[in-house]
Amino acid sequence: MRGQEARDQAERKAAMATLAQSSGDDIVRLWNEAALPAEAELLRGPETGLVTLRGRIGGGGAPFNVGEATVTRATIRLPSGQVGHCYALGRDKQKAKLAAIADALWQDPARRAEVETRLIAPLRSALSAAQERRRAETAATKVDFFTMVRGED
């Protein structure tokens, strides 16, 4: 049971990460295609605020404050009573609301598979394709050193 709970949490967090990284336009498009329910009671927000980003001295040392970033958050309750949350960088309020609804739907065992396959999976594959392309473009700029032999031995 503990193990199952930890796995559920990790999967829920992964779904939230995917939603946070995706563009609002992509989420809206997939939402409409999948005809997911957008009806929910807003418990908080959507509202925009700041988080202070922290780094570490030398990369791995003591934490220090680097600067702020805009974040928009929303908390909703579905008619079924399930509560969902979203925090995402930027100021897209519609995205925050839909992502919070997606989080609530995800927690409903009867809807989880639908949210995963119709919304999260396509978003995730788009993100990883973009990431892979960027990695391959960066890899093309990798320096291959070669040694020049000078003179005769």
Partner: protein
Amino acid sequence: MYVAVKGGEAAIANAHSLLADRRRGDRSVPALRLDQIVEQLALGVDRVMSEGSLYDRELAALAIVQARGDMIEAIFLVRAYRTTLPRFGYTRPIDTGAMQVERRVSATYKDLPGGQLLGPTFDYTHRLLDPELAAGADVAEPLQRESEAQAMPRVSAILAREGLIEPDGEMPQDHVPGDITREPLEFPMARDIRLQALSRGDEGFLLALGYSTQRGYARNHPFVGEIRIGEVELELDVPELPFAVPLGTVRVTECQMVNQFKGSAKAPPQFTRGYGLVFGQSERKAMAMALCDRALRATELGEDVVAAAQDEEFVISHSDNVQATGFVEHLKLPHYVDFQAELDLVRRMRAEYEARENPLKAEEKREAAE
């Protein structure tokens, strides 16, 4: 007695509408869209985010347009906007070792794990103006290369194995990171607070100070151990969730400067370090920050404080370009009453001076006046 003078409302209103007109410029030229600025003036956007100390591309682009491209004015606008928003919390510290790297170079190790990745750099370009760009020529897609995902440890970890480099900067166990947005600056200052101030500091000011250390003012023999640019994930602890909530990714630039150090009463000979971490792709700024960070550690490392770049109060008090421009630019606002008082004072001093220098003439003058 205090006399207030009012006036100029119509002049101010008209000046602002003239500003709006000049900002728009020739109406036959298409207006800039924010996405054009975000995409095509990306490094300018990054500078405004870094010195405005607010990670938000669209807002930075809006600030650049509104400020007609005046970067310090744009930074000022972003800083002002920040103060209108509530703060949700402090993120977990980012892990630059897990960065999705877009550029990574080291000047100290040729064959470091993960390799040297040049990325989208100006380095090795010929700095010749490109007429094709002016003509709006199409740009080819970049090449791609198949490669296995490779771990890219920070270069400091490699040097650490030999024990010849100091560790990442630690603070005492119970130290809470200081926050210059909440508490006024106090000197002497802990390194974490200095780094926060440097990260939002003016690029030009830090660049000049970093340059001064290279030219011999607080010489500290720097090498770029590593520069890496790329995206890192952000996470925030919130009470309503049992795990840190993922917020998305931000692009940052990190510079690990490695400095030869001959040792002092406080520390043995070894490599010491300066650290730079800046929003966006801001390599020059991250390098300058790392040079200044190292120079400002003079007292900690038992070095003599002999140069401006080592003087914490001097550097940190003057690194913020919003404060600097505020104080310099306020000089152009009306000081009529101040100046009247000064004028009166100078007249009296002059009269006293003349009376001393030439008593007879002053006497005649006074009589004439009477």
